[in-house]
Structures are given as C-alpha cells and as structure tokens.
C-alpha cells in the first residue's frame, strides 16, 4: 500500500475529529479506521514511520494495535 496516502488519510481523519477533544478524538479515529479500512491498510500504517502521523492519529494507531 502507498504509505504516504495512508498517513495522509489517517492525519486527515484525526484533524477532522480533533475538535471533539483529544480523548474522544483518539477513540473516534481508532473506531473510524477499524470500521472503514481494509486490514492490509491498517497493517501498512502500523509499519509506516510513526513520526509522520499527527499525535491524535498516532495515539489512535496505538490503540488499534492494543485492541488488535
């Protein structure tokens, strides 16, 4: 998968949900990605350079990792 695209997508989701407050936003981003992304996309995002993810997206990804 094109990792740049996935990072861009994750950051975009995070930015659009950020107004809900960090805690809610992290959970919402994780839920959104779980609901709408094919597993290979999530896997590729896990393997991507986390530095390019914005904090909310990064936290959401960690949470996704935790819950499988």
């Amino acid at each position: 998968m094109n990792v740049d695209t996935l990072v861009m997508m994750a950051n975009q989701i995070a930015r659009n949900l950020a107004a809900r407050g960090e805690e809610v936003a992290v959970a919402a981003v994780a839920e959104h990605i779980r609901d709408f992304w094919d597993p290979r996309m999530i896997k590729a995002l896990h393997e991507a350079a986390r530095d390019s993810l914005e904090p909310i997206a990064r936290a959401a990804l960690t949470r996704l990792g935790d819950s499988g």
Binding site: I13, R20, D35, D38
Partner: protein
C-alpha cells in the same frame, strides 16, 4: 397492455377534505370541493368534449367546447372553469350543447388541414376524436379563411417537429412550458385564429430558443402540431409498458410505447409519483444509444491490453474468466479479488455483484460509484439521523416555505424535480442558493433567489457553521424540538462550538468570501421563514470535508426543528438513477445490505446461513484503495459492472496505473468504455429496456423496471453475473429478478415488505417497508429519529490541502449539464450532443482578460496532477478566481487534472476543488494525443475493420 392513451381528467386533481355531492347526467357523484365540473364528470366515467384543457394544466377556458348546462344557472358555462357546488345538477349532453359544440368545432376544423389519412397522429389525435365526439360531419365555412395552413415545419429539434399548419391555438403547449416545465420558452402571438405559437424571439426556432426539450409541450399538444419525429418514422405505438428512467436519481417513470419490438417513444407516466407526468430531455428522448453502432453484443477476451480483442462465445468467455479468477484467488488469496457495482444497474443486479464478491470471491472488496458522489451522504446522515438516505419525498417540496439549495444545480442535473421546485417558488416560497457559481435558479423567469451566497469553493463547512452561529447566538433555534427529539447535552456542546466568535459570519468572511450581512440574512430566513427544506448535491459531498458538510446540514435542520414532517427535511439530490439502491444493496466494502456493518456477527450469520458460506468479517478495499493495492501487488483482479472508473474517477493517471497493474480486469458494459482500454475480458451488457428489476430513486422510492425488448447481447446483466458465478462453481439458480428481491427482503429489515408483487400493486414503495410501515415511508423520522435521539456532531472547518498558489492561482470546480449524463457513454451516443458537443471551461472576464483569452479559444488547463486542453467560455457566472467545467467527454478528460484529495471519512474525491492555471493553447495536450492513440489501439477487435468509438 394494449395501447390506450393515458386518461386525461381535464383539470388537475384537487386535494380537499371537504366533499361535495352533485348530479351529473342524472348520476350522483361526490368529489373534493374545488374540483371542476369537467373533472367530476370524467371521474364518474363520463367525458365532456374539450380541447384547451388537460389535467396537468390549470383550466384556461378558451376553446368553449366543454360547455354544459347547469340547472338554475344562466347560459352554458365552460365545465373546465366551473367548480362543483353542493346539490348542483349538471347536463353534459343536450341538443343545445350539441349545436353549440358543433359550431365551435366547425370553426377549428375550417382552419385545419384535412389530411388525416396521411397525418402521423391519425387515430391518436384529440382533435379528430373530439370532432367525432361532437358529431361533426360537415364544415360550412370552406377552408379559405385566415389559417395557419401555409406555415412551414420547424424540424430544428432533433426529437420533435413543430408543424404550425396543424395548430389550433389552444395554447396547451405554452401553458405546459410555463406551468409544468417552468422554462417559459413559448409564446402565443396574435389573437383568435390568427394566433401562432413561437419558440423564443421571432428569429428563433425550437433549437435556438430557450427550449430545453423536455417534451411537455409535445405531450400536451392535442394535434400533430408538436409531435415526436419517431412517431412519424415508425408509426403509432401499439402497446405501452410502464418502466423507470435509467438516467438520474429523480427516477421518472415512463410508458415505453412500442410498435412490435421497436420503441416508438417514451412518454412520462402521469401516475408516476416521482415525476407526476413530467420528464426531461434525457429520459424522454435520449434512448437511442441502445441501438448505437458502438454497442458491443458479443463477449471478448484478450491476454494482454496491447492485443486486439477476440470475440468469443459466452461459454468460452465465462469459463476463461472463472478459471482466471479461481487461479488468482488460489495464488494470491481472496482479498486479491474485488468488484464494483453499478448505480445504473438494477437493485437485483447490484445485489448479485456484491454477493459474487463476498460469497464467491470471498472478500469484501466491493465498492460502487457512490464512492465518488454520495458516500458522504451515507456516512453523515447515518451518524446524525441514523439512516443513510434523504428524509422526504419529492412532493414534500410543495409544502416548503424556504428552500435552501447547497451545491446542487437541479435545472441541469435533476430537471424534473427542478420543475417542481420552480413551481413552488412561483407560488411564493423563498430560495437561498449556496453555490460558487450563479446557477440558473438564482435568476430565471419568474424565479429569483432571495439570497445567493457565492462562496469560495471548499468552504461549505465554514458557511454552514457561520449560519449555525447566527441561529444559535440570535436565539433562533427550536429548543422545544431539540429537547424532545435530540440529545440535549450534545446540542449544548455543539451550540457552544458554533457560538464561538471565530465562527461568526464576519470572522469567516475572509475564508468564505460571502458577505457577512448576506449570510446572516440567509440564516435568519432559513430559521424563521416557516418550513425550511434543504436540498443538496455533489457540491456538498465531493470535497475533503464532504462528510462534515452533510453533518453540518443535518445539524442545521435539527437545530431549527426542520425535520420529521412535510415541507422540511434534508434531501440529497442523488446523481445516478440507482445510486441510492446500489448503496442500499450492500455495495460498500464495510456494509451488508441495509447499511449493517460487516463486523456485526449477527448480521453476518444471517447471510452466512442463507448463502451457505463463511464471510470475511473485516471491511474490504474502497475503489481508490483497490487501485493503490493493485500497484502494490496485493490486489489483482477486478470485475466492473456498468461503471467507467477511468473516466469518472479522479486523477486519471492514478486510475490507469492501478488498472494496468492488475492481472485481470473484467468490464461488463454496453460499450468499450475508457476503463475497457485496460481490460482483459469484456462482457457485453444490456440496457434498462432489456431487463426486469427495480431502481431506487433519491426519495428511497423503489420502482419497477420492465423489460420491453429482448437483450441485444442475449442476456440481462443479472443473468451475466449469475452465469459468471456459476462458472466459478457457485450454483445459483435465480430464474427471475423477483427471486433476487425476495432474497434481499429476507435478509434486509428495511426491505422486509418489498416484493415485485407488492410493487406491481402499489406502483412504488419508499423504504423502509416493514411491519411498522407496510406501505413504505414517504417522510422519515416523523415520530423520532431512526437512531433514537438526533445526534449533533461538531463539524470543524478543516481546509483542504489543495491550495492555490502562484503557479496554480485559480480554483477549478466541476459540474453537469442538462443534455449530457455523467461520462456521457449513453447521451453522447444520441442526438443530445447537438446541445453540448464538447466540454468547455467557464472563466470570469477578468481572469480571461488577464490571460488574453476569448470565448472559443483553446486553453491549457493545468493542475499539480496533470493537464488537458479545452475551449474557453468567458462568463461572469463564475466568480473571479474560479473556473468551471463538465466532464462528459472523454477527449477532455477533465479528471486528468483533478487530484487524489478526498473526503476525510469516505474518500469521496474532491472533484469540486482543484488549484489550476489556465493559459492559451494551440490544441490538444500531449496526454490527450497519447491517450487517443492508446485508446484507438486498445479498442481494436480482431476481424473488424474499424474500431468502435
């Protein structure tokens, strides 16, 4: 059904709770108060002669043929203009009336050419019928008087002729154009028998006039003056079959009027609840593509895309395809396979394609073209209201007091609904238009928007948040409604968010470029002007904030209590005929039919039990992800039914690279479309005239599509998918689409009460159709939101990453035109191209002058993604800094310049905002030349001298 003209009750139906009883020709009859005597007589089975009346037009009272006698009333009143009264005693047939009517009729006939035997309307002519009805046998006046006999025929319209020599000056056409269509293209000049009808100014003909070729006047004309050319060529129809238009999401129903196996004409069906007897040029006339020479009717295969196509038998094509699919699955796993369903195909066909992907391929890699149009609608309305669909029926607009139109251009894209809307606006409803471009509705005959907010493309969320700011801070919100129907705490969070000063119209003006005072006035009007109804289109969804905008719209409706009754609501104007249906049928990679998430074990178990296979519990790939995964090597085979993703999806280079990387691309379509340039298998498709099934329109209305002729390719599309499934060993045995709908109903709670039998009986049904709503649901959320409490969602305005700059200083936005449909595969293959034979670039005079451009000049349109060339049209419809084009023609390839940016929640592409530069050019770009050569190469068919288009 044999051929019977549609019944005409003479004057429109009146909806009144009060009933009046009268006696007509000795028989008592009860009708709603306000009904005309003419209609009452017709409803009781009688028929009063008439010429100037028709039941879709207000009574006019000019021909004087419909005279009746009423006890206690002097004279002989015209029955079309006389309302019924309690106890009235009417006589429709007396010697005196007969004498009077004969006299009138004689005058008409003296001015009419008596060439009935050779007239194309012979035996289907109201004038002829009425002459017989009144018993006219001879004409005393001779035929020399002032007449229209010498006037020439206007054949300029490609679909109908105007032969003024046959005109009886009843003005039905003029009134149809005014009242039904709302274009006001026709005028009646002169008086009495000297009067003539003309389209536009005296120098105009139908083609050069304002006429939009909707056909309403042709349908209204009682003579052969205005008549379809096809009737002249083929002859009078012999039978009629009711079916549904396959173009836009309005979902007009038509009588396909046939002679043998030949379609003579499509006439809008008066009982159709979506269109109420009206149509537009596409559905009415543009069906000739079904027999176009480019249509491919035999299956074809090839090993690689640089080879010519090889025509093969169905058996060979299907077994070859199945073998390839099975091999790729064995080697790369189920998730390497996927499919795309079509919003132009029926619900049943769409359901089968997603079933083939999920149950046959074994993945959830199924998507549909709604991805690129209304996927944000599905997401946004589900989040806020709980249902991925619009809330109203079309009739509801007739109860709206304020219409808020956002990012939609209904006169071009949803013309029949636009006519309804215009009718309501002429009655006095107020209109607010939020659109970067001055669409026709901003100002057209007898319609003027109260407010036009010409926002900077990409700032919808900011504008709507500013409107919410006004509503909340000026205390215009409907608190009682919110407390009762929505989550109050969420409302308060949202209200606090929008009330923040940074969301005021003044603070956002720099971003939106909408004058704050106008925005405030518009917000006040929507909140306080009575029933407020929101209609929106792709100008809302096709942005990186598409889903946020849909939710912002829903927030506004909830905050003002404009939801859950007639005249209000949130209404997406759906693009394609069956885009609602394709979404309903489970075409998205994360959802089964009825919008149930694939991860939901109980829902999956239901399908697994019915289908006898285990389903993948994880969401699959969306179209853009499929293309990425193809380049990456993890996605290898794609079955595309009835879509042309190469032309319709953004960033053509990206689509082409994805398709090229796949091992197997199967295109199932009518024509060798642009996507087929990259295909290895071509399965010929069938038209809507050649299949049974259902379409679901933008009102959630499920309507039957009926087969009127045999498929030219030998199979309806659902049969092709079934044959492919069976070649893969799935053992399907549907014998008719009704069995597929039964399966949908069995597996989908919102369709539980739907069956072909119920649809036959009811004419149409709006889902949900279930135990609670056995007759369907015209208005949603009447007693509460489907999700429980209405959910206010904070929608922050996050600007797109696509920015203008010195190299790309202009913003390109895209749209549609009336006569062409989407990628144009069908309409370009009809006479409709007479109105629009190329895409042009609209540019503001100031921007044009800065670049030395004039209308008609070739220009180079370049973005960060690519470039193309087309001709310029200099117009102030677009604001300075904004340019606009359509994408109906493959030679323009407007999507070469659109970007990969997309909606944050759904990946719906951002077609509406691309930073571009425009410069003079000498002609086609290198890409256009290369593309053309590649396309020509790719369309070769072995043994055929010439490639199809």
């Amino acid at each position: 059904m044999g051929y019977e003209p549609q019944a005409d009750f003479g004057t429109p139906e009146v909806l009144s709770e009060i009933t009046v009883t009268l006696t007509i020709d000795g028989r008592p009859i009860s009708v709603p108060a306000g009904t005309s005597v003419m209609r009452a007589a017709a409803e009781s089975g009688g028929s009063i002669p008439k010429l100037c009346a028709s039941d879709n037009l207000a009574a006019f009272g000019s021909c004087r043929l419909c005279l009746v006698e009423v006890d206690g009333m002097r004279g002989t009143p015209a029955s079309c203009t006389t309302p019924v009264a309690e106890g009235m005693v009417v006589h429709t047939q007396t010697p005196r009336l007969q004498r009077l009517r004969k006299g009138v009729m004689e005058l008409y006939i003296s001015d009419h050419p008596l060439d009935c035997l050779t007239c194309s309307a012979n035996n289907d002519c109201e004038l002829q019928d009425t002459a017989a009805q009144v018993g006219l046998r001879d004409v005393r006046y001779g035929y020399e008087g002032a007449s229209h006999l010498g006037l020439g025929v206007d054949s300029s319209n490609p679909y109908f002729d105007f032969d003024p020599s046959k005109c009886i000056a009843c003005s039905r056409c003029v009134r149809a154009c005014d009242e039904v269509q709302g274009t006001l293209a026709l005028t009646m000049d002169g008086r009495g028998f000297a009067s003539t009808i003309s389209a536009g100014q005296s120098a105009d003909n139908f083609l050069s006039s304002e006429c939009v070729s909707c056909g309403a006047c042709v349908q209204a004309c009682p003579t052969a003056t205005l008549q379809e050319k096809a009737v002249k060529e083929i002859g009078k129809p012999e039978r009629a079959v009711i079916t549904t238009c396959a173009y836009c999401g309005v979902g007009c129903t038509f009588r396909a009027e046939m002679r043998g196996e030949q379609l003579v004409r499509m006439v809008p069906w008066k009982d159709g609840k979506a269109n109420r007897g009206h149509s537009c040029v596409k559905g009415r006339f543009a069906w000739g593509y079904a027999h176009h020479k480019d249509r491919i009717t035999s299956p074809m295969i090839r090993e690689s895309i640089d080879q010519p196509w090889r025509e093969v038998s169905w058996d060979e094509a299907l077994s070859h395809t199945a073998t390839r699919l099975n091999a790729i699955k064995a080697q790369h796993g189920a998730r390497a396979l996927g499919g795309i369903t079509s919003s132009r195909c029926t619900n049943e066909e769409t359901f089968l394609v997603q079933k083939l992907v999920r149950a046959g391929f074994g993945s959830n890699n199924v998507d549909t073209c709604a991805r690129v149009c209304h996927s944000p609608t599905g997401y946004g309305l589900k989040q806020t209201f709980g249902t991925s669909a619009g809330t109203q029926d079309f009739d509801s607009v007739m109860d709206a007091d304020v219409i808020l139109l956002i990012g939609a251009n209904p006169t071009d894209a949803h013309p029949v609904f636009a006519s309804r809307m215009k009718r309501r606006l002429r009655q006095g409803a107020k209109l607010i238009v939020i659109d970067p471009r001055r669409i026709d509705l901003v100002r057209s005959p007898h319609v003027e928007a109260a407010h036009h907010l010409p926002l900077q493309p990409g700032t919808n969320v900011a504008v709507l948040t500013a409107m919410a700011h006004v509503i909340v801070t000026e205390k215009l919100a409907d608190e009682a409604f919110i407390r009762e129907r929505c989550d109050w705490d969420e409302y308060q969070d949202w209200a606090a968010f929008v009330a923040d000063e940074r969301h005021s119209p003044e603070a956002l003006e720099a971003v939106t470029r909408v004058p704050a005072a106008d925005l405030r006035a518009a917000a006040r009007l929507y909140a306080t002007g009575g029933n407020g109804a929101i209609y929106y289109g792709l100008g809302v969804t096709e942005h990186s904030q598409g889903s946020s905008t849909v939710m912002a719209i829903a927030n506004l409706a909830m905050a003002t209590g404009n939801i859950g009754r007639r005249g209000v609501g949130v209404n997406p104007l759906r693009g394609q005929n069956n885009v609602q249906g394709a979404c309903d049928m489970g075409s998205f990679p994360h959802e089964l039919s009825g919008y149930r998430h694939i991860s939901d074990g109980a829902t999956r178990a239901l399908f697994e039990a019915d289908w006898g296979v285990a389903l993948d519990p994880d969401p699959g790939l969306r179209i853009p992800n499929m293309l990425d995964a193809a380049v990456d090597g993890s996605f290898r085979a794609l079955y595309v039914q009835g879509e042309d993703i190469l032309q319709s999806d953004p960033n053509t280079h990206h689509v082409a690279a994805g398709l090229k990387a796949m091992d197997l691309v199967i295109v199932h379509d009518l024509f060798l479309n642009e996507t087929a340039n990259y295909a290895h298998v071509f399965l010929p498709g069938s038209t809507f005239l050649e299949k049974d099934g259902t379409f679901t329109n933008a009102e959630r209305r499920i309507q039957l599509v009926r087969k009127v002729m045999e498929p030219a390719n030998g199979m309806s599309d659902w049969q092709v998918t079934q044959a492919l499934a069976n070649a893969m060993g799935l053992g399907w045995s549907y014998s008719h689409p009704r069995e597929i709908m039964d399966e949908v109903a069995r597996l989908t709670p919102s369709f539980a009460g739907v069956s072909f039998a119920r649809l036959e009986e009811a004419g149409s049904l709006q889902w949900p159709v279930n135990a609670a709503h056995p007759d369907g649901s015209p208005i949603m959320h009447e007693d509460g939101f489907v999700r429980g409490k209405g959910h206010f969602v904070v929608t922050d305005y996050i600007p797109t990453d696509e920015r203008t700059g010195p190299r790309y200083p202009l913003l390109l936005t895209t749209g549609r035109i009336l006569s062409q449909y989407n990628v144009g595969a069908q309409t370009r293959r009809t006479e409709n191209s007479i109105w629009h034979d190329e895409d042009v670039l609209e540019i503001h005079p100031t921007d044009a002058e800065n670049r030395g451009l004039n209308t008609g000049d070739w220009v180079r349109l370049a973005s960060r993604t690519g470039e193309t060339t087309l001709r310029a049209l200099v117009t102030d419809r677009v604001a300075p800094g904004v340019v606009y084009t359509t994408f109906h023609h493959p030679s323009t390839q407007a999507n070469v310049v659109t970007t990969d940016y997309s909606d944050w929640a759904t990946n719906c592409p951002e077609y509406k905002v691309t930073a571009v530069q425009v410069a003079p050019s000498n002609g086609p770009s290198d890409w256009q030349r290369d593309y053309d050569a590649q396309a020509r190469q790719s369309r070769r068919i072995a043994g055929h001298a010439e490639a199809a288009e």
